[in-house]
Symmetry: C2
Subunit: 419 residues, 2 copies
């Protein structure tokens, strides 16, 4: 069996550990030169394949590839680009096959969320239909933790840890100032459709009265009165209140709370910002002094406080993806299979892409408590091991020393797409 090349691409929103997966893919591929020639990485994800913009990872030293393990964001560039259905835009899929053929690419590793698994699945089907042999392996990634089958998604554990740490630290700050200053602190987290990230803030609580005091989840339509009652109760009992709110929280009529029509001085609608909306509620109805933080990209890029468990799993899934390919598998995705919560034990499993593509995993109802304003112990049991362990990057001059790629491009062999 002769070696064939591999194509690797990062897709969608990046994370603190997606490069650890890339590291697992490339290091494992390099360990099997008899089966895998060169790993070409798509510049800006799947666009790199469409545009034949391929980064030659053979041009990167072993040290640089190893450093990807501790480097956040997408080192090769990611893309928010969803291929249309096969029937709507067959040309795009055929272009992918053309590029793969031109560079003797026999393995396609697609590192992303639900959409990406769907794309990997379609490419596998098309390769077969076009008589071009290609093995397509999906590799999970998403801070939203919304892929089915796998116990968790790389990227989530680190953002969960970041939010839990931030909640504990800012909570101490507010507790120490509340007597004469801010009484209500609001932390806005990512999570447009699922409350996993906001829920992780609950890990900061050790005993009664500890922050967070309220968690607002997209799964629970906001009951403004119930929420305000809880805030008042917290301030009266503990002197302050820490609220963690997911960006995806909705009103009872199904609208995003962040889209409540805030306007600037020129009358322009201000986009986003569920935190200021919640803050205004607190201020106007209860009169408490507030502050809010919007963590935004800081939370998903925070490699400096990544979960060691998350980093390990991210790498292991990249490695497993290559091993599945070498074992002859196609149209599958490696997964995390949990064996036990405590002690935490897990192993790598696999699932056919057909079972993953476009299926969204929601937070189970039993993870949300009766008030709808906090999570349950079973949720905490699930979350705890995911943030375990620290995995600090190396530092230089007081700052994390992240990888910089040489980024050598592969010479193009085809005309431009659409030209």
């Amino acid at each position: 069996m002769t070696a064939r090349n591999a194509f690797y691409a990062q897709s969608g929103g990046v994370t603190a550990v997606i490069n650890a997966t890339a590291c697992g893919v490339i290091e494992t591929a390099r360990a099997h030169p008899e089966r895998i020639g060169t790993v070409y990485a798509g510049r800006h994800g799947i666009l790199g394949a469409l545009q034949e913009a391929l980064i030659d990872t053979a041009g990167e030293s072993a040290e640089t590839i190893a450093a990807l393990r501790h480097t956040p964001a997408g080192a090769f560039g990611s893309a928010r680009y969803k291929l249309k259905g096969l029937e709507e835009n067959r040309a795009e899929y055929e272009r992918l096959i053309d590029v793969f053929r031109a560079h003797d690419i026999g393995y396609f590793f697609y590192n992303g969320g639900g959409d990406s698994q769907d794309t990997a699945h379609k490419v596998s089907q098309l390769g077969e239909a076009m008589g071009y042999p290609i093995q397509c392996i999906g590799v999970p990634k998403t801070v939203d933790n919304d892929l089915p089958v796998t116990d968790t998604c790389p990227g989530f554990g680190s953002v969960a840890k970041y939010i839990a740490v931030a909640t504990r630290e800012a909570g101490l700050d507010v507790a120490s100032m509340a007597e004469t200053s801010t009484k209500v602190f609001i932390l806005e987290t990512m999570g447009r459709h699922a409350g996993w990230i906001a829920a992780a803030s609950a890990l900061a609580r050790e005993g009664e009265g500890d922050p967070p005091h309220v968690i607002l989840l997209p799964e629970v339509p906001l009951d403004e009165q119930r929420f305000l009652d809880r805030v008042r109760e917290s301030v009266e009992r503990f002197g302050y209140c820490v609220v963690v709110v997911s960006e995806g929280v909705k009103t009872a009529d199904g609208q995003f709370l962040a889209d409540q029509g805030t306007r600037d001085a020129f009358g322009h609608v201000q986009l986003g910002g569920v935190a200021p909306t919640v803050a205004a509620m607190v201020k106007n109805q209860l009169g408490y002094k507030y502050h809010y933080a919007i963590a935004d990209y800081l939370q998903r890029a925070a490699r400096h406080i990544a979960s060691a468990t998350d980093v390990e799993q991210a790498y292991a899934l990249g490695k497993a993806a290559v091993e599945l390919a070498i074992a002859g598998e196609d149209a599958v995705m490696p997964t995390i299979v949990r064996e036990s919560d405590s002690p935490y034990r897990w192993h790598i499993g696999r699932v056919p892409l057909a079972e993953v593509a476009n299926v969204e995993a929601r937070m189970p109802a039993e993870y949300i408590d009766e008030s709808g304003l906090f999570v349950t112990e079973s949720c905490l049991r699930y979350l705890r091991p995911l943030i375990a362990g620290e995995d600090y990057p190396p530092y230089r001059n007081g700052l994390p020393d992240y990888a910089r790629l040489a980024g050598r491009m592969v010479e193009k062999r085809l005309p431009a797409f659409g030209a």
Copy 2:
């Protein structure tokens, strides 16, 4: 000479390392039992003295006191409470002396910014006038880095490191997504009157094209056209633009940019939020997709990524404060004296409180470049050593294990104030 007790209070906004100073004060006092009896800490800062709400630190184990070194925020509670002038409210000052007398307090350590140094100075003067012997030592603290004489203020180095790390990490995120998604990222930092914190983001830049690309400082009135030109130039040359903006940025007519009259759906003025204002400018004038983060308390509470230099200096200043008191000094503040930038060398100095009280240190003009949109190399030379080194807290269950005080209160001996 018999031992007398000490009073220690935290004042104003808390930091990642003010408890490290408390640790230095208490550990050093404990090492000199022949001179210092018990350290009483004010619950909620100076309010604790006015209300005779004194925390008996003798009730805390050596382990708990040692753990303060790695615990953020104000463990004894801080307060935003400025004593009025002596002539306006002499009763408050006399109450302080009464409480000190009732508990045989001969040392007053006041840990705060310019206002607090002023208060410590006045208490010293009043003690003398009232014939009550008390040595008043100011201990510097402020994330704003705006105390005069001292080279830097504990708390600043850690928030500087946080902002530089966040800028580097979020910058990598935006760089990897910009091809198909967010092109402009805005990070709002603290700094109502001085741009030190926003300036520290510049430490993230290693080479041309690295983020941050623009820094907006309170010292430079916003020139909207010049700013937008720089943003467009950055997006065109590098594909994206990272803007770091201080909350205190003002318009040419001297108004805070954050007070531009944003209103919510109910017509209420929305407070704060310079980031969304800048974002709206970018969106409306240039049309770029943006995201913004507001770090708020996360930045000053982030003990998990504290600067080792900052922690060391915070502790050393607490220790020095006690040593100054033991040496018989009064109405002074220990300072950081820089000997050289690189290698960074410093020692502890001292300054009379009269020279510190109510004097605000601004960023020197030569630290801001000609465009007004970035800092100079001399600014970076000043900043670099302040973020050097990591000083990680211990972790338990994936989260920083911060100190929890027993918080035993001293029995009151006086009637309530004002009763």
